[in-house]
């Protein structure tokens, strides 16, 4: 019974997300453009898939992964766990939070791999590039960016450095990379910053940030708990631009080698 109540709630929430899109689409097709909708049946069936699929996805996350992820995030940030067998450890020293950084990186990586928006963008990128951009390659690159970003974000919470310094530094790196990275990857790289943080990543990462800032002495959850999402949307841009630069570099190196070989012959 409880399960059906939860399913019903999430189902209505998803429908509410989809409703404005359908009203808008219907209004434009029928009133502004005055033409029947092509493939109406397939689109309707697909929409049912989207709504039911997303609902099941959310219910499942709330049942299995979120409670676990949140409990673990708070357990790892708990002073009792951090002190372990050694009593009287200094909680303000950033070197004592090794497991937290590792957990942040791994959970950032793995939730990004499962993020449906990123899967969608990666599919589109593969289709548009004619297969030159590999779906898994893009997703893993983005996930590495998120992993590094969230790990750095937890370090920021522990060390108490102001948020804007990191963001400024990240922006400077992006600007420098933009000057050198291949044009083809640029738009995709900027986009991949926005898609990493939606359904799966945000709840677990937010719990990590709030739990951590509550247990580190001298941090205020209301101010320091925020900002992890910002890290998670900045560093994938750097990662994807870097991947593009690497790909360009290795291609040009291969071409050079080929040329040299031909010259030798």
């Amino acid at each position: 019974m409880h399960f059906f109540a939860e399913f019903g709630k999430d189902f209505l929430l998803t429908c509410r997300d989809v409703l404005p899109i359908f009203l808008l689409f219907g209004f434009f097709q029928l009133v502004v453009l005055r033409q029947p909708i092509v493939n109406l049946r397939s689109i309707l069936v697909g929409s049912v898939y989207v709504i039911v699929g997303l609902t099941l996805f959310l219910v499942g996350l709330e049942k299995a992964l979120f409670p676990l992820g949140k409990v673990m995030a708070s357990q790892l940030a708990d002073p009792a766990f951090l002190q372990g067998s050694r009593a009287g450890i200094d909680l303000t020293d950033w070197t004592n939070y090794g497991w937290v950084y590792l957990f942040a990186a791994l959970i950032g990586f793995s939730t990004t791999i499962a993020e449906p928006s990123l899967i969608a963008v990666a599919y589109k990128a593969r289709e548009v590039s004619g297969g030159a951009i590999n779906t898994w390659g893009l997703r893993i690159t983005v996930a590495c960016g998120v992993a590094f970003g969230i790990s750095l974000g937890t370090f920021r919470i522990v060390s108490g450095t102001p948020l804007y310094l990191f963001i400024l530094g990240g922006y400077i790196i992006v600007v420098i990379q933009t000057c050198f990275a291949p044009k083809t990857i640029m738009a995709l790289a900027y986009d991949s910053g926005g898609v990493t943080t939606s359904t799966v990543t945000v709840p677990i990462v937010a719990a990590l940030g709030l739990g951590l800032s509550a247990s580190v002495p001298g941090r205020n959850p209301a101010i320091d708990g925020f900002g992890l999402i910002a890290f998670a949307s900045l560093f994938p841009i750097i990662a994807v631009l870097g991947y593009g630069q690497y790909a360009q570099w290795s291609i040009s190196r291969a071409q050079k080698k080929n040329k040299e070989k031909r010259n030798e012959i």
Binding site: V48, L76, A120, T184, Y190, D191, G194
Partner: protein, 251 residues
Amino acid sequence: MKKSALSVYAVAYVLKKIWSACADLLPIVVVIAFFQFVIIRKPLPDVGEILLGTGLVVVGLSMFIEGLERALFPIGEEMAYSLTRKGSLFWLLIFSFALGFSTTVAEPALIAVSNEAANIAIDGGLLENSDRARNSYSLGLRLTVAFSVGFSILLGVLRILRNWPLHYLIIGGYCIVMLMTLFAPQEIIGIAYDAGGVTTSTITVPLVTALGVGLATIIKGRNPLIDGFGLIAFASLLPMIFVMGYGLVVF
């Protein structure tokens, strides 16, 4: 005979989808299991519930991806085609704005964040501690973010049409963000930075991507890879600027 061959094919298709969803989820399962058993060393609470939940996530994700290719991508492309065929810039821009605004304004994540932001502002003494002040502040914040996302999609579509170089706009946006960080009240900066990330929902992203790529495919002289992407980038940059602007205006 024929029918059974068809159903075998269908079963294989479904299994393939489910298998790929399992691969998507595998990293999370491994990470959580590793930390639970090796580092924290506590038994899993409620194993049955967790297995059931994971099963639902796998089925849900494979259905969503199937629906993505059947409904969300086609809708975005169809709108790009029909609106360019109509040839009216006005309606194309109205559609872009409405798409961004309407999908963001009721987003649960945004509602949660703006309520939280109102509480922080009250704690910081920036806002009078009353329900009216709280509600009007958080509604204002929501409308600001929704407006900024609508404007982002509009700007992104206009960029594809006019062929403005994306990186100048993005770098310009970064400069504005950094400048505004200097002037905006401390209490709103963290929220403003996060607002950029939470605004684009799982349903909006595929639709908007298909719209951009569709436009760049139809318009002559545009490369779908270079020009088609970039709409989401605006939608995660402009909310930061608008929210900090809101903070400057309100306080």
